[in-house]
Symmetry: C2
Subunit: 556 residues, 2 copies
């Protein structure tokens, strides 16, 4: 890690602390002089092998704490968890006011209600296309489309340079809910001059455009029309346009919608409060599903990623108290497979098929579109904005790589910069350059505790997971003679019955052997003795189980 550098007062500085590569949780810093603003504050899912027992991670804001600089505010581009899910964990370390449009702020407020500091968080609800200043930053929101309402691009103007930060986006002429991308404003910004674009790379491998929500609605309708039994549809809860399409299809096909899953209800309520979905009838709660005949029911449920605690996993496993699916019923996965979830999702398909449910996914029929831009859309945005430099973010290195290549070779940029989390970019008059690295990393949310992901506790847990534990407690008298009984216990080590029975005897032999060569003085050095016993037990385990359990020796 190179040393943290103070930014040059006459340049705009951009640093992603998350949002690139492994740390998918978005967290971007823009600095000018000693002032900072934060764009987005997301969370990510933890790798269950590397961080066992941890569900979520958030970017490590240590750099900001080190700087002691002024954080003027945090702007949230949209309400996806990888953009707002870190607020409830990190706000106590940042203590800055929040800026967001109504729907995004509504979801943030629901989260803050569950914290003990929520009331202290200053919140500014912004109009769409708002222009406002924070210290030396002149900020402007630009309406764009995405798979959630009110997604906003952000123009960051400083005396040094102007950057366009896309957030997550796509182009959709018929987004079904919310405004379409403000092309005129983007073209005007291009004429004004954009020094650099910080742009979403997620879907750059797709040559075509992402596709429209209207097409999804059109593809879903005939499938529901032809269905004879129950129809269940699962989608990302935050995709309000999709929720609306499904509910409209229910009206058209004479079905009643039953909403199953907490996050769908949360979204439904915030969306209604913001004036969305207002033309639709109130859906049923899960308990009411059984009152509706199969051919009149449309179940909209969470759990498309195979999440074990979500509604669909329970329905597929036959353990949901109110909602069942079986022979003659149909489930539509109006979603994609997020890499890493394949096995969980395939298990879900199999469980549903075992019950005789017909399974249709977006890999069979066009019942899902991405929320991120394919190459066609990126080309268009670049042509409107004409940025001098491209800074690809939101994606892994292979996405950034292709994005950078296309930006320079095909979309007219003079240059593209590949950066990692913690990489600093200086953007000044005529110059956009990488400028070293700052401290970056991720924090594991363990219970309610934030723990550095490199903390040795996780290595301990991994060793316990892979090898189990052997604990030995022994008591020596003042002369160093071993007193009976010796207590030994194992956890996670597969032992046959006779091995369990003979374990104390075997341990006794090992201890005796270990003590035999020691002087009285050595026996009184309990630290030394424990170390020696641990070594000898370790060797014994290796030999008997070809494994390396954690050895815990307690000397009383």
């Amino acid at each position: 890690m190179t040393k943290t550098k103070k930014p040059d007062p006459h340049q705009l500085v951009f640093i992603p602390l998350g949002g690139v590569g492994e740390i998918g949780a978005n967290f971007s810093l823009y600095g000018y002089g000693d002032q900072w603003i934060i764009l987005d504050c997301g969370m990510g899912f933890a790798d269950p092998i590397q961080l066992p027992g941890v569900d979520l991670t958030v970017p490590d804001p240590a750099f900001l704490e080190d700087q002691g600089s002024k954080i003027l505010g945090m702007v949230l581009t949209h309400a996806h968890e990888d953009h707002i899910g870190g607020i409830t964990r990190l706000w106590p370390y940042l203590k800055c006011p929040l800026y967001a449009t109504p729907f995004t702020m509504g979801l943030i407020e629901n989260k803050l209600k569950e914290t003990n500091f929520g009331a202290r968080v200053k919140r500014h609800t912004l109009d769409f296309s708002a222009r406002f200043t924070l210290g030396n930053f002149d900020l402007e929101l630009v309406d764009i489309t995405h798979s959630i309402p009110e997604s906003q691009g952000v123009v960051i103007r400083t005396p040094a340079a102007t950057v366009y930060h896309t957030g997550d986006w796509k182009l959709d002429d018929q987004p079904m809910v919310g405004s379409i991308t403000n092309q005129a404003r983007l073209e005007a910004l291009g004429d004004e001059g954009i020094d650099a674009i910080v742009c979403d790379s997620t879907n750059v491998f797709s040559k075509k455009a992402a596709g429209s929500e209207a097409d999804v609605a059109a593809a879903l309708l005939p499938l529901v029309q032809q269905a004879k039994g129950r129809v269940a549809i699962t989608c990302f809860a935050s995709n309000i346009a999709r929720v609306q399409s499904v509910m409209e299809i229910a009206v058209k096909t004479g079905r009643t919608v039953c909403l199953v899953g907490r996050s769908l209800w949360n979204m439904w309520e915030v969306a209604r409060n913001c004036g969305y979905l207002s033309h639709l009838p109130e859906p049923l709660i899960d308990r009411q599903a059984r009152e509706i005949p199969a051919h009149k029911l449309l179940i909209l449920c969470t759990g498309s990623q195979g999440e074990e605690r979500a509604a669909l996993a329970k329905i597929a496993g036959g353990t949901h108290p109110h909602v069942k699916l079986g022979k003659g019923d149909l489930i539509l996965f109006s979603s994609r497979i997020i890499p890493g979830n394949e096995k969980k999702i395939f298990k879900l398909y199999d469980a549903l098929l075992h019950h005789g449910v017909e399974v249709v996914t977006s890999y069979d029929q066009a019942i899902h579109v991405s929320g991120h831009p394919g190459q066609d859309e990126m080309r268009q945005l670049y042509s409107w904005l004409k940025p001098r430099v491209s800074i690809p973010v939101h994606g892994e290195r292979r996405h950034q790589d292709l994005h950078a290549k296309l930006a320079v070779q095909e979309w007219g940029c003079q240059k593209a910069l590949l950066i990692d989390n913690g990489g600093m970019v200086r953007i000044g008059a005529g110059q956009v350059e990488a400028a070293g690295r700052v401290v970056a990393g991720k924090l594991a949310v363990d219970g309610e505790t934030l723990v550095e992901s490199s903390d040795p506790v996780f290595a301990e847990r991994r060793q316990l997971a892979a090898n189990g534990l052997l604990s030995l407690t022994l008591r020596l008298d003042a002369k160093g003679a071993l007193q009976d009984p010796l207590h030994c216990q194992t956890l996670g080590i597969p032992l046959l019955e006779d091995e369990v029975a003979s374990l104390p005897r075997q341990m006794r032999k090992l201890v005796d052997h270990c003590l035999a060569d020691r002087t009285a003085a050595e026996k009184r050095d309990s630290q030394l003795l424990i170390r020696e016993l641990e070594k000898s037990l370790k060797r014994w385990c290796k030999q008997h189980y070809q494994k390396n359990p954690v050895i815990l020796v307690t000397l009383v």
Copy 2:
């Protein structure tokens, strides 16, 4: 689990103990009277979340042990690990002779050399297209193509019925190595009459045929020709045709092949012993790579699935002692992504790209073909064999489902049977029917021990992994008074420094509280006391860490 049934003496019985759904390791039983033969004995990869610390699993052969029936022999259809990888673990429980063609047997023999029972295993090396009898079974091998040489279908004839067991297969007119599928023989078998086909479903979602090895060779050549720096190619080591294509391309482009990875060398040697690859120059070992100029080197390496200990992971991580890749070099992934390995493989791409290596995969260019039949090929095989009944295996439920549907609706079968591992099918004169279930499951290979995958040790390990451990050792005197000092230790629990310091005091308070209400008699009941202390510590942890660590109380 329903009770194990003895098979009807006048019917042929088929039972997969592995090879379907979750237990991908192939292990099929065919029974007639009290005689059994086994087809294939594979291993599978363990789910690292469910079975932490376990790399491999094998099917549980408990049913055969229970039966006490005669196992006449085990026929190995080909040498992939999911077909032969279980032999070294399970043979001691089966103790039957092995039957395989030379290449398959060669690889088995290499495995057996590493066991202490290898010399006792009776082995029969078969000719291609061999016909031989085992008890009441009249068996015949049929040459088919696959992604490894000498893959064989097996005709199982008994007085009751005739079954064709496909093993893993595809159709390839130009397999590059080995014989092509014996279409004439398959058509003759169709005329003779096949009661049921037990058929590979892996690739049934592909409408087209799998494609030919010759096409892969043709696609690889120009990529290597155009390369200016080092070229590395990674593929499945057992794909001898691919290895040959790569080596021939090296000759054509004036490059020297360096073979990196143990399994590639193992395959190379067995293949050469069987007369394959004999026209090719001996490749270099990894140490010699540095002697060759970059533009003259072709590295063929293992690790296409992101396996952490394989050659490619080391090369990508810059930790391989002899082989380096960097700017100007090219890596070709002549392989597919096996579901579940996405994240590991993406990490590999990213590491290579970070070093400036150009990465080309089979998702960019047609440099890989599947070894399993698409619908076109399946249609052809069904048309040759004209089986009455289809029994789809090798795939998850969704593969079996589509396979069954197509077999009946499009490929002329009267019927298709969907079975799981442990499902029994009776195949008699004019009747093919599901007939209950037998004991089936999987065994975890933990160190050198075989452990039932449902064993509680794995639940212990999972709890240790997710929550860590709190161990407390205390000593009471004869009157039940607590003696100093109290020993407490934690593993895998994130504690701040002051929390660590105050832990003994806190524990002492808990213990005092727990002892306070006890009579002298209760204090002497150490089991009761331990239980109560564990409960109280559990509550305390939940309150302080929102976690549920394993609690280990030792009372001395």
